[in-house]
Subunit: 116 residues, 2 copies
């Protein structure tokens, strides 16, 4: 989602939507969530737009993903009798999270210049 918000400077939701090939209205909602999470900043009115709150190298994939997941799904209680699985599950998610925290937006930025 953010993948193209690192276009350098401020861009309109309209541009993000078309560049990502998703509906305009839908894009609005996502950008709104990201702003509430503090990952991006915004400015209203003409000449408004969105831009990253921190530099691409300081935003990890974990940061972005956490926005979607409602507080890590509140760690739902295991279905009993599966106690030994709980530890394994924890290990998996631990490693996953560690990896996602190491990778920043800068790592996956390739190209795609922004418009005026």
């Amino acid at each position: 989602m953010l993948a193209l918000a690192e276009a350098g400077g401020p861009v309109h939701a309209e541009w993000v939507a078309t560049s990502q090939d998703i509906p305009r209205r839908f894009c609005d909602n996502i950008l709104l969530q990201l702003r509430r999470a503090g990952l991006i900043n915004s400015q209203r009115g003409p000449d408004g737009g969105y831009w990253l709150a921190r530099s691409p190298g300081e935003i990890s994939l974990a940061d972005v993903i956490r926005v979607t997941e409602g507080v890590e799904q509140a760690a739902k209680p295991f279905p009993k009798a599966a106690a030994p699985l709980e530890e394994i599950w924890a290990r998996l998610h631990d490693h996953e999270h560690t990896l996602l925290r190491e990778i920043t937006l800068a790592d996956i930025m390739t190209s795609g210049g922004p418009p005026p």
Copy 2:
């Protein structure tokens, strides 16, 4: 699910259901899936029941999980523009799968004796 099927010998679906605290009918369906996947064997009629097709040490968690996931979800095409993410996602699932393949049922068996 199988976690208690390693009760040693053949057991009834009824016993599995109560021991796992899930509805009887629901348990039936799961056991049926597992049998179709070749993970367990079964025998009808009185004195029938279910038992593991291989020894607990030869059944990995990956085997069990694969039964649920419909052919790895058919590798749905990525939403475009997210190409760089594809590699990362692959790495994650690779590691996850590797870990799950190393862990067998024998590793997480603890206790819980079967009935006559």
